[in-house]
Amino acid sequence: MASHAASHAYHRRAMLRGAFAGVAGFSAAGLSGGLGSGGVPGLGGLSSLFRVGEVAVGAAEPAAGPAATPLKLAGKRVIFLWLAGGSSQFEMWDPKPGRETGGPFRSIATRVPGYQIGELMPKTAAIADRLAVVRSLDTGISEHEQAADLISAGRPKEPALDYPEIGVVMAKELAARESTLPDYVSLFTTSEGRRRPRTGFLGARHSPLLLEQGLRPEFVTPPEGVDATRYAAREELRRLMSGRFAERRAGADMVDGYNAAYQRVRGLMAADHLFDLERESADARERYGRTPFGEQCLLARRLIEAGVPVVKVARGFWDSHHDNFESHRELVPDFDHVFSVLVSDLAERGLLDSTLVMVLSEFGRTPTINKDMGRDHYADAWSIALAGCGVRGGVIYGKTDEDGRKVVDGRATAWDLAATLYRAVGIDPKKEYHWGPRPVPLAKEDARPIEAVLS
């Protein structure tokens, strides 16, 4: 067993997938097949099938043939930009200049004929032909936590079933088995308002690598005095002990997640250079800019280019209950610059066609300007933007009324949006996971992808 040490992490994943594929529905054939082909004791493969509660969570993938990432998913990537707190559609994607609700900013023409964007976004206006903007979200919930759960999971909360975040599902679906890299890297480097992507019923082993203290994972070099041989030997002891323990435990999914975290350590230590922005050219660094959001997006591009399937960058503090226009004067130009550079850079590197860039938020902001010159939470009519993989550029979908109070055309729900995002990267929204005996489609049953924005 020690001989597979170097590659076993991927092995294990492959084996698990194979096993799951075989035991869809928990047939005896699958069970014995899993045991037979496992042949590697102590890796937790068996235990994964014997968990109490979230009985094996396995995608109902085709059982025939060696499990492989479907061709249409190969090489697809996602950069998930999350504007935490709720950015204002009025100051960005859906301006209403001159109206009482419109605020002081004017609108400007874009490369898409007839589409006017907020004046704070001239650089985005210049790449609007690469974007699809949905201006007709009506998602109902206007409280942060619940709305963030709704949008990021793409479906309403159920007390009994905890749904994973869209990014987690995408990472699971898009991850290449032979990769040594993390499937999902999530950045939120400010301490307030931080939300970690939920893995929900998919379990702890789908947890993203969180970058919360800075742009580089901490503790990626061995402690002093522990050389490579010693390091490998003690980790091997740990792995054997832990793997044995997982067998037939109630709650083995947690042990799987725990062991998976250690299995990722080596890969992360080896991938340390990917997190080193000093390796980027001075031009690239200047181009993205030295703001935290700029650096995070440059890092996202670096990771995507290296093969990390999903990277999320959360940019906070859009929750402008007071002084909305001042805060958007600060935040939107930074977003405009970094977002347009990111999309252009991906395009120049030939990555845009295979990389979905999605700009989401928990909700938009109220048409009414409150007494403190702020805008409050508003989920009845707001906007998001997409670019890249699977997205039809230059489509401005949906419409709100002249004051931006109501959707008048193309109303879309949180689940419609989720289905659209899955479709964009080639994931079938109707695909089912299993939670115990219950089949759970990726997107809510009545979700309708917004075909118009898909290429």
């Binding site: 702890a204 003690r234 109630a250």
Partner: protein, 579 residues
């Protein structure tokens, strides 16, 4: 104060022990019967009972927040083979062993119990705002003096605690008083097990129980005069005005979560002359909640169950409402009534839970080959109403493995909380001074008749040392997620390396001084995992220690290898989880 409980305990112990134990036993049996019925109905066979050694580790972690020391676990190790054999034969309703029952009582009486369990209650009540030392100490003191949960609830929300502790208790409200919404939501979550935050902006979209009137009705009790940050208008007397989603302004009168408005109680509650305006509405809330009994007792019992079983009877623990029933019928109501009938004594509920069969179940599921044949589900009223999947197929999974976490047919693994992990790691890898009292400490313990004084004092001292470690470990959340961050920290930080490296009389140093490899391995297993190594483990780790024998063995090389054994065991899942 310690003396006080000890005295009570002794009096109670001598006079009423027999009948009280019987009475406790009957509640435990009723819980066991309900679970047995549930298992039978679901066609499940529960996991075998855990051995005494397994139970001792579990219980020490659950009640004292740490693994047992070598001194504590040694006696159990010797009998473990015997009890394991006996345990394997146990049925669903096998009796509680005297050893386990005695252990529960001993730990509940230990000076370490309030010290640790105060932090547990703090997290239950304070949620994200947990960790305020003064408030934790208030809860610790409450546990040490045997305060009822009813009284803690009253003191926290309505004041009335004596002396210094009044200020400490008031911290829950004081820290939130500027934000009435936070106070309302946290009071509902912390004490009543319900999350009504949705109902702030609109009637709860998914739970019919919660309307805006529930939210603002509760807020009306909690609103302090002036200074609140809220969407509510604090001008009126005690009613709260709010904007309903249709834009209409509504007025909410003080109303408890049960839906009872306060008016009906106005005459029933005497208003003491000394009652200050500041506390008065909250005192009314306390009276109503205690009269209701339901919310307060169910929430505490469910949270304690979650603490000990790894999952609440109602899950999530802050979603106790009509459309989210308990996963096992009857148990929650039984425990809640028992708690209320016994003066809201948290120790009472802890006794019942830790003695019941579900708590005593092993965490390991039955082997497929050795499990009994599945008992087919036998609903009394079969027909179209029969829920769930049909009877298992001929080659179905073994019964326990089919169980859901909410069936409690096996002890679900519980990830150690950061605090449990840090204390246990420091303790198990460290020297043995922790439970080595000095002569005077021993004497004091005898005089006061208190066990664990030394340990409690050492733990308190350790708190500052392990404090910085806590945020590095993954929190014990309902959906526990292991992060690569913790793994990187534990693998690569100097802080962890210092803990495991041989120094002074710590574990690695003691191992290094033990010439016999097998003995050194046994020593490490005993300290960290409270069990002897299996034959294959002894061989594997023995080989690791020998490794250098082939080359030139230096003392430092052996020390390093010992440290690596300590590290490997301390980072194994067996150590990281309570099982």
């Amino acid at each position: 104060m310690v003396r006080f409980i000890v005295t009570c305990w002794l009096v109670w112990g001598t006079m009423a022990a027999a009948s009280a134990a019987d009475e406790l036993g009957s509640v435990v049996s009723r819980v066991d019967r309900l679970l047995e019925q549930h298992w039978a109905a679901r066609g499940l066979t529960p996991a075998r009972p855990a051995t005494n050694a397994e139970l001792a580790r579990r219980l020490t972690l659950d009640l004292l927040g740490r693994v047992p020391t070598v001194r504590e676990s040694e006696p159990l190790l010797k009998e473990s083979d015997k009890t394991a054999a006996a345990a394997a034969k146990g049925g669903p309703l096998d009796p509680v062993s005297d050893a386990h029952a005695g252990h529960v009582e001993r730990l509940l009486r230990s000076a370490e119990f309030p010290l640790y369990f105060g932090t547990v209650l703090d997290e239950m009540v304070q949620g994200r705002m947990a960790g305020n030392e003064s408030f934790v100490d208030y809860l610790r003191q409450s546990l040490a003096t045997g305060k009822s949960w009813e009284r803690v609830f009253r003191e926290v929300l309505a004041g009335g605690a004596e002396g210094e502790s009044a200020k400490q208790a008031a911290l829950f409200v004081d820290k939130r008083v500027k934000d009435i919404d936070q106070l309302t939501v946290d009071t509902a979550r912390g004490f009543f097990g319900v999350d009504i935050s949705c109902a702030r902006c609109h009637d709860h979209p998914l739970v019919a129980d919660w309307t805006q009137f529930h939210y603002y009705g509760l807020a009306a009790f909690l609103r302090a005069p002036g200074g609140n940050k809220s969407k509510t208008d604090a001008a009126a007397d005690s009613d709260v005005k709010f904007l309903a989603r249709n834009g209409q302004e509504q007025t909410a009168r003080m109303m408890f979560l049960s839906g009872k408005p306060f008016e009906q109680w106005r005459t029933a509650v005497p208003t003491p002359a000394e009652e200050t305006a500041r506390w008065s509405p909250r005192r009314r809330l306390v009276e109503m909640a205690l009269d209701d009994r339901h919310f307060l007792s169910r929430s505490l019992v469910n949270r304690l169950w979650e603490q000990f079983m790894g999952r609440g009877l109602v899950e999530p623990v802050d979603q106790m409402h009509s459309s989210n029933p308990p996963s096992v019928p009857g148990v929650l109501e039984l425990l809640a009534a028992d708690l209320a009938d016994h003066g809201y004594d948290p120790r009472r509920a802890i006794r019942v839970i830790t003695l019941c069969r579900a708590y005593r179940a092993a965490s390991q599921l039955e082997e497929p080959s050795t499990s009994p044949a599945p008992v087919p589900a036998a609903p009394t009223a079969p027909g179209p109403m029969a829920p769930g999947p049909t009877a298992p197929g001929p080659l179905a999974m073994p019964p326990t493995a089919q169980a859901a976490a909410g069936d409690f047919a096996a002890m679900r693994l519980k990830p150690l909380s950061p605090r449990q992990y840090a204390v246990s790691l420091t303790l198990a890898a460290g020297d043995q001074a922790f439970d080595e009292p000095s002569a005077s400490e021993r004497r004091l313990g005898r005089i006061l008749q208190v066990e664990g004084l030394t340990q409690a004092e050492r733990t308190l001292e350790m708190e500052t040392a392990f404090g910085p470690l806590l945020p590095r470990f993954d929190p014990r959340t309902a959906d526990f997620q292991s992060s690569a961050r913790e793994a990187l920290f534990v693998s690569n930080s100097e802080a962890i390396q210092r803990l495991v490296a041989a120094e002074g009389k710590n574990l690695a140093a003691r191992m290094a001084q033990t010439a016999d490899d097998a003995a050194a391995v046994t020593m490490a297993f005993a300290a960290l995992l409270q069990r002897p190594p299996t034959a294959s483990e002894r061989e594997l780790f023995g080989k690791h220690l020998q490794g250098a024998a082939e080359s030139v063995t230096s003392a430092s090389a052996r020390s390093e290898r010992c440290a690596d054994v300590v590290w490997a065991l301390a980072t194994s899942a067996e150590f990281r989880f309570n099982h």
